[in-house]
């Protein structure tokens, strides 16, 4: 078949390539696929919190693995989003420790405050309330949530207001 212009990995930024290269160095040269998780995280981060098919195909081409294998990884792990989402990703832990300490109330409060349900993003594209996050290993200070890459613990509605209102 004829090749259109360029390669699929052209969808990756120079910075993303550098980052992926850095991860590739850590693995044996015949096991480049080991870098796929880090690569997808980097690419998702640059893209405003979600992956597109072009970006996944780009990672597949750059690392040298079948595209479907990248889709498998991206669709398996909950930290990858495959549809456009709000800028700030909120994950409220609802696992046992947090649940016993009132995470359901916290979640309900956030849903009301933002006017969205689990798995949805606000209309202004500011917040994304992530669905069913598993235990984030901060049980000693439950209930907790993760906003973007930061943990917030011992949550109360007031504390939630303070955290979310600060965000741009």
């Amino acid at each position: 078949m004829s090749e259109a212009t360029g390669r699929k990995s052209d969808s990756l930024s120079a910075h993303a390539r550098e980052e992926i290269d850095r991860w590739l160095e850590r693995y044996p040269s015949d096991q480049r696929q080991s870098a796929v998780l880090a690569a997808l995280q980097e690419v998702q981060h640059e893209n405003g919190g979600f992956l597109t098919r072009e970006l996944m195909d780009g990672v597949a081409d750059y690392i040298g693995m079948p595209e479907i294998a990248v889709y498998e990884v991206a669709s398996f792990y909950s930290m990858f989003e495959l549809k456009p989402v709000g800028r700030h990703s909120i994950s409220v832990c609802t696992n046992i420790s947090c649940m016993l300490c009132g995470s359901d109330d916290i979640l309900e409060y956030i849903e009301k405050k933002l006017g969205i349900k689990l798995g949805e993003s606000t209309a202004d594209g500011k917040f994304f309330l992530k669905k069913e996050e598993e235990c984030l290993a901060a049980c000693r200070s439950a209930p907790m949530m993760q906003v973007d890459h930061v943990y917030y613990e011992d949550l109360t509605p007031a504390k939630v207001d303070e955290i979310l209102d600060k965000l741009e």
């Binding site: 098919r53 079948p66 479907i68 294998a69 889709y71």
Partner: protein, 788 residues
């Protein structure tokens, strides 16, 4: 090896098993049934369905038989209470999300899940909740999906990765959301894709053309041999009321293992194409009339007689498809020779016959198909094995994954499904030069060779290939379809021979069609009779017959405008001939024009016969389905023609007599490729202007495949286009999507321009064997392009 055998016991039965074998292998070898879904002997162990749980003494819980290696003294129980309880529980889990609607499932009646549930499952389900539903996917015209039925055994995924060599299917999502599919809208394009239909233990992946057309218990399973490539895959044909409903593989470890190519699986649709010729027809006074067989045969015999009487026997010629049976080919050459003509040939896509006198008994693979796996280095000369002989490619792929160096000399780089070590992609005219470079690097010298090779340039890449071939434990040079149709094919063969001699490699040919080897043995050649018998006066070869034009032709299973090297010459010669007899399964408008009598003959599955495959294996088969309409087996038609023409030696009551007679003649004679080539004559092809690269796409190789509806819907089915690289396009002032006028020796067509980086400089890619290029000249030769 005895120290590698361990003693184990399954169900109280003492057995011996290879060290490292899994329990399930030992049980299978002893005929002890263990239920399974994900395990398949040709695929890696996944151990994800857990259906094969068995009790192993001293193990605290049931173990999966597919992933538990045998140990000395191991005692296994497959039907104990613990094992059965485990199996029953797994079955219950598997059925949680599986629809229980077998009556409307295409797999019903031949479903592993159904069978195992009957044998090992419980009789009720305790699951009251909602079952999950998975959307079906459209993965192309060959495979139908019903993904709600999928039990996630991942056989299809592993097949793609491990056998087909392209990961097209995968398991995306997780937990309850896991789905098997392509994730994105995409068709599954592997040339072996249909095998996932057999592998799928449930009704998730089924045959699209066969879907909802018959139940397994309505059909009879019969055996035959595939009729499209030189592998000669063993087939089971499923027949209902004498009609072929579908084709599946018949296991033969030496030939096709457990697989078949999509071409062999789906081509049967071509048997029932609308343009199938169902009754004999003759042309009288310019108009066609359907007639009885007697009338048609008399008409044909009289026409042949008239040609010989009025124009001389040398004006009569026969062209046969290399997919014809040994018996048909044998009788065809007998008929021609009985009439006094040796103008008979099956090498329709060949142009250079200059070395035919020194050719081996029949050009063959030079080794067994299974032995290809053991090669350490392979040089493929003008061979796109992946598409031409998919299961030979499968063997080479195994060799490549083992570390063999696969190297390529070709005009168009084939798309491989394994890594290649070197690829010399050059214009066709430079291919001899490349082989000469490799030969020179190997130190070939002596006699006339010195002078010839003096001019050969040895590039570092040639040296690398030479080194690799020489240092390999087992090496082979395989000459494929493109090299065979090269205008300097004899030089390519000769140079390949020199390389093999110097590198101690086996020279192998990939014969054309399903019976290219058999056609040589049958004597469907102008210069040799049956069993390689040398003839004093050689007749005209296929090319000469088409180029010089004869007064009368007998065609056997050929559509010359598509099947011949030079489409324009073929059409012209036939149109100008006085009398043309076509033994054909189809009726086309071209035939109506050039032929005088059409005799409907049976296709594969409808006739008994024999194919000789690339490794020289004679495989005979019986007719398994009724011919369409009034069609009759080709050998019978030729026998009657022989009788009507008062020829001797046409007294046969069945096709086996013809085969046995030939087999006696061949005796123990073996073909030896290695010594059978003449010295190469020249290195450089004459070159001026552009050269056409006219390969034949995988689903255009013969009349039956060309009519396989589903196959024609795949991505591999492609019509002619004008493929060229950007440099050539710029020179011609052409851009992607332009229409261009393509001219060759008087023939002209208009084609769409497609930029393709794979096409070398000074060349254009215009496929042969497809409607769009009918009327053009040589499939490899000079070509003129201008903007339309």
């Amino acid at each position: 090896m005895s120290e590698d055998l361990l003693n184990i016991e399954i169900n109280g039965q003492p057995l011996q098993a290879r060290r490292g074998a899994m329990i399930i292998e030992a049980a299978d070898a002893a005929g002890i049934q263990i239920p399974r879904f994900c395990y398949h002997k040709k695929l890696s162990v996944a151990a994800n369905c857990r259906m094969c749980l068995v009790e192993v003494e001293k193990a605290p819980k049931p173990l999966p038989a597919c992933a538990t290696p045998v140990a000395d003294g191991m005692k296994v129980r497959t039907r104990s209470a613990l094992a059965r309880d485990g199996q029953r529980s797994v079955m219950e889990f598997l059925l949680i999300n599986h629809p229980l609607d077998c009556p409307i499932c295409d797999q019903g009646g031949e479903c592993e899940l159904q069978d195992v549930a009957m044998g090992f499952g419980g009789d009720i389900s305790r699951f009251q909740e909602r079952k999950r539903v998975v959307k079906d996917k459209d993965i192309g015209p060959l495979i139908a999906t019903d993904m709600t039925r999928c039990i996630h055994c991942t056989r299809c995924v592993r097949f793609g990765e491990e056998i087909a060599g392209v990961r097209e299917l995968g398991a995306t999502g997780r937990g309850e959301d896991m789905e098997i599919g392509t994730f994105v809208e995409k068709s599954v394009d592997s040339e072996l894709s249909g095998n996932v239909i057999d592998l799928c233990p449930v009704g998730a992946l089924t045959s699209k053309p066969f879907r909802y057309s018959a139940r397994s218990w309505e059909m009879v399973q019969r055996s035959t041999i595939a009729a499209h490539d030189a592998v000669g895959s063993n087939l089971h044909v499923h027949v209902r009321r004498n009609r072929v409903m579908r084709v599946v593989p018949r296991e033969n470890e030496d030939v096709n293992e457990t697989w078949i190519s999509d071409r062999d699986r789906f081509s049967y649709e071509g048997l029932y194409s609308e343009d199938r010729l169902s009754a004999p027809a003759i042309k009288r006074g310019g108009s066609w009339a359907d007639v009885d067989w007697d009338v048609a045969l008399d008409f044909a015999a009289n026409g042949i007689r008239r040609v010989v009487a009025e124009r001389g026997a040398q004006q009569l010629g026969a062209l046969a498809s290399p997919n014809s049976t040994l018996e048909e080919l044998c009788l065809l050459q007998k008929l021609l020779r009985g009439m006094g003509s040796s103008n008979v040939d099956h090498r329709l896509r060949q142009a250079d016959f200059s070395d035919q006198d020194v050719a081996p008994l029949f050009p063959w693979l030079g080794q067994s198909i299974a032995d290809l796996e053991l090669l350490d280095a392979v040089l493929l000369v003008g061979a796109d094995v992946r598409k031409e002989q998919p299961l030979i490619n499968n063997r080479l792929r195994k060799a490549a994954l083992r570390g063999a160096g696969i190297m390529v000399v070709n005009a168009l780089e084939p798309n491989f499904n394994y890594p290649t070590e070197a690829a010399m992609i050059v214009p066709p005219g430079d291919m001899p030069g490349v082989l000469a470079g490799i030969a020179k690097a190997l130190g070939v010298r002596g006699g006339k060779r010195d002078k010839l090779l003096e001019s050969a340039q040895v590039e570092p890449a040639h040296e690398a290939i030479a080194e690799r071939l020489k240092n390999a434990g087992r090496a082979s040079v395989l000459v494929g379809a493109f090299a065979t149709s090269h205008p300097q094919a004899a030089d390519l063969r000769a140079l390949a021979g020199l390389i093999c001699e110097a590198a101690d490699a086996a020279l192998g040919y990939l014969p054309a069609g399903a019976n290219g080897a058999g056609a040589w043995l049958a004597g469907a050649l102008p210069h040799r009779g049956p069993a390689g018998q040398m003839l004093a006066d050689a007749g005209a070869d296929a090319q000469a017959m088409m180029h010089d034009g004869l007064a009368g032709y007998v065609l056997l299973g050929v559509e010359p405008e598509l099947d011949c090297w030079d489409s324009a010459a073929a059409s012209n010669s036939l149109r100008e001939a006085d009398f043309v007899v076509a033994l054909t399964a189809y009726r086309t408008s071209e035939m109506d024009e050039y032929a005088d009598v059409l005799l409907p003959v049976s296709l594969f599955a409808e006739t008994s016969g024999t194919f000789v495959n690339a490794e020289g294996r004679w495989q005979s088969f019986e007719a398994v389905a009724a011919p369409v309409g009034d069609a009759r087996p080709g050998w019978r038609v030729l026998r009657v023609l022989g009788n009507l023409l008062d020829l001797e030696g046409f007294v046969y009551t069945d096709s086996q007599q013809i085969r046995d007679e030939l087999k006696d003649k061949v005796g123990e004679a073996r073909a030896d490729n290695n010594a059978a080539w003449r010295e190469p004559s020249r290195l450089d092809g004459k070159r001026s202007g552009l050269t056409r690269i006219g390969d034949v796409p995988v689903y255009a190789v013969d009349p039956v495949v060309r009519r396989g509806k589903a196959l024609q819907g795949t991505r591999d089915a492609c019509d002619a286009r004008l493929g060229l690289n950007a440099t050539v396009a710029a020179k011609l002032g052409l851009q992607q999507g332009d229409r261009a006028r393509v001219t060759q020796e008087g023939g002209e067509v208009v084609l769409e321009v497609e930029l393709d980086t794979r096409v070398p400089d000074d060349c254009v890619h215009v496929r042969a064997g497809v409607p769009g290029s009918v009327g053009l000249g040589p499939c490899i030769g000079e070509i003129k392009i201008s903007k339309a």
